[in-house]
Symmetry: C2
């Protein structure tokens, strides 16, 4: 992989890890915590690759200086990944979070929810592109837990299936709306004025 | 301030710092970088406060264990703040980023833009609540640079003024739309199907 692709992957992965780690603590989810640890190993390995590639790529002092900035970005991603790992370790160690943590997460700028999709939900068997969730509800799907595996940074072609567990980040009101959608307590038609036709 | 409020503030601030630091590097902005350093001092001071408060609050071993989880969250926020500071230091030191950095930021899951608001723009003299930018464009205002000061984590009551510099995070298409709005190349009426009436 090129330095560019490694860095894109590292940046995305480290941001995802922070979200995943906070949610692991919030929902006391051992499988999310374990996933954070797995990803942390991947980020470490990528950081090592970037260092190697950079050393080989640097020909002049000017190269070296500019590559330094890239290495620093890789380091920043690794620091974030490490912070995420420390959080995930709490869950693995079985340390229950203080009740205040839940309040902190709920009053944070962006709240996080975890929702199971029922069979009859309007979300199931539709792609994120078709659903326009971000536009309709202000909630962004961060990851999908499907059976034993995870789907990260899903894109518009990612299809939501019944029994998926969605991890989303967004606002209070959006969370409430999505909870209803996922549980089939309301349908997509109940959410008017979507951007769907225009996009 | 209570532990709860300190943690909320720390968590929000550390996330903002990461965004601000990436954008400082991306736009080679010394004032954004300096702001990151100022915020880092605040985060450090808050972490110290949280430690003090936690030590005083712990009465039993059970208390102590649960408080440990809170301290770990404060540490995670501080790690993220430190990573942001390291990035900001690059800008302060005058190290120009490698061209690859721009590509990395643009191809990242969430892209970042910085836009000046012109007098005739439909954005000026409206609150974020009135504008519904997130719903209309999928872009979230992270911070506003107004003259010599910054407004962080603006809420729906925050008014956008002419000559504000907005720092936003979101999608490709949203960025394009906002660029037009901010420069008065298009008006709000050109963006149909907004959620405004429903919210």
């Amino acid at each position: 992989m090129s330095i560019k692709n490694l860095l894109i992957e590292m940046k995305n992965m480290s941001e995802l890890m922070v979200d995943l780690a906070y949610s692991a603590v919030l929902f006391n989810s051992v499988d999310a915590a374990e996933e954070v640890l797995t990803l942390e190993n991947r980020v470490n390995a990528m950081n090592y690759e970037i260092k190697k590639e950079s050393l080989v790529a640097a020909r002049t002092y000017e190269d070296a200086e500019r590559l330094t900035a890239l290495l620093e970005i890789a380091e920043a991603a690794e620091s974030m990944a490490n912070a995420a790992k420390d959080l995930a370790d709490l869950v693995i160690k079985g340390i229950k979070p203080h009740p205040v943590f839940k309040i902190v997460m709920e009053e944070s700028d962006k709240m996080m929810v975890r929702l199971g999709v029922v069979e009859e939900s309007d979300l199931s068997n539709k792609t994120l592109g078709e659903l326009f969730l971000a536009n309709r509800t202000g909630m962004r799907v961060i990851a999908i837990r499907r059976g034993e595996s995870w789907i990260y940074g899903p894109d518009k072609n990612t299809m939501i299936l019944a029994n998926d567990i969605l991890l989303l980040k967004g606002t209070d009101e959006g969370a409430e709306l999505l909870r209803k959608l996922a549980s089939a307590a309301c349908s997509l038609e109940d959410i008017p004025e979507e951007l769907e036709d225009e996009d």
